[in-house]
């Protein structure tokens, strides 16, 4: 768990967001809240970063884009870690209940950990591949952060939905 948290948060280091004034995760929250049932929450991913690029001076520069995307990555990363922690607590409780009644059912918490580890490897390899489209070009920076942001958001939404399953 701690390894995953550290690993996950490590992605976004390298740029602090102090100069970014236009970032506000409320934009994403508002988008998610306004969705109808037949819409996918995925359509809200990137909304805060885009707003940030539009409202920050130099927001559309390579550096500006990276910073804005990185801010939203941090937002989703925090949500992912929170959702993961919640699901892990629930799954551990179920494991204990099952073992208390003498069940030999496979551990849900261990399966969760294996899933999250595999997801991290998948995220990193996929974003490395995305970067390869850019060669050494300057677009590779924002493209890689964007990839991490989208994938992290999707996994956060997946685990948040899973947290509802009792």
């Amino acid at each position: 768990m701690w390894m995953i948290l550290a690993f996950s948060a490590g992605v976004a280091t390298g740029s602090s967001g102090s100069e970014v004034v236009g970032f506000d995760p409320v934009i994403t929250g508002r988008c998610l809240a306004a969705m109808s049932e037949d819409q996918s929450p995925r359509s809200c991913i990137g909304a805060s970063a885009e707003h940030c690029m539009e409202t920050t001076e130099g927001g559309w520069s390579t550096r500006g884009m990276s910073k804005c995307l990185d801010q939203e990555l941090q937002y989703w990363d925090a949500r992912l870690n929170a959702a993961y922690g919640k699901v892990r607590t629930m799954r551990k409780a179920t494991d204990k209940e099952m073992s208390d009644i003498g069940s030999s059912a496979p551990s849900q918490a261990e399966a969760l950990l294996a899933m999250q580890r595999a997801w991290i490897a998948y995220r990193d390899a996929t974003c490395d591949y995305e970067r390869s489209h850019w060669g050494g070009g300057s677009g590779g920076g924002p493209a890689t952060v964007s990839c991490h942001m989208y994938m992290t958001a999707e996994q956060a939404l997946f685990l948040e939905a899973d947290a509802i399953v009792e």
Partner: protein, 158 residues
């Protein structure tokens, strides 16, 4: 893109589906009718559902999973071919090779492990705990379709 669709259709035409009653028409018609903003996933499973109205649901689901597996192979082969082409170009142009082929293969391998482990986790959540529980099947169906959408999008951009 049109080439891809044709290639897919040819491959699928010759594929032996477990269930003769299965046709991917409902899924494909749904995808063809989507606007760009709608999440393609709403169409995943449409054919299995239609087939399941009058046939064994598990067999119908297996058939749609087989459909997406083939489509994944086609999309992956196309993108891999492009990656190899780019790597070859770099060699001929004497520019720094980016090894996109290696990056793509690593990404696809990691995706397979991600699908395996994610659906194994789902498997622990459901009553039967069996690999062929409907929820586990649905996990394979959706994750495979999503990777197809991803690779097909990459292929259409390049």
């Amino acid at each position: 893109m049109r080439f891809l669709a044709l290639f897919t259709a040819l491959l699928l035409g010759s594929a032996a589906f477990a269930q003769d009653a299965f046709t991917p028409a409902a899924t494909e018609a749904c995808l063809a009718g989507l606007d760009r903003k709608t999440d393609k996933r709403v169409c995943v499973g449409a054919s299995a559902r239609q087939c399941g109205e009058t046939n064994d649901e598990a067999a119908c689901m297996a058939s749609e999973i087989a459909y997406w597996d083939i489509r994944l192979d086609v999309a992956y082969a196309l993108v891999l071919d492009r990656a190899k082409g780019k790597d070859d170009d770099a060699v001929h142009l004497n520019i720094k090779p980016r090894d996109q082929t290696g990056a793509l293969m690593a990404a696809q391998d990691s995706w397979h492990q991600y699908r395996t482990n994610t659906c194994a986790f789902e498997q622990t959540l459901w009553g039967s705990g069996l690999a062929d529980a409907p929820e586990v099947r649905a996990c394979h169906l959706y994750l495979t379709a999503e990777q197809v959408f991803y690779l097909e999008a990459v292929a259409s951009i390049e």
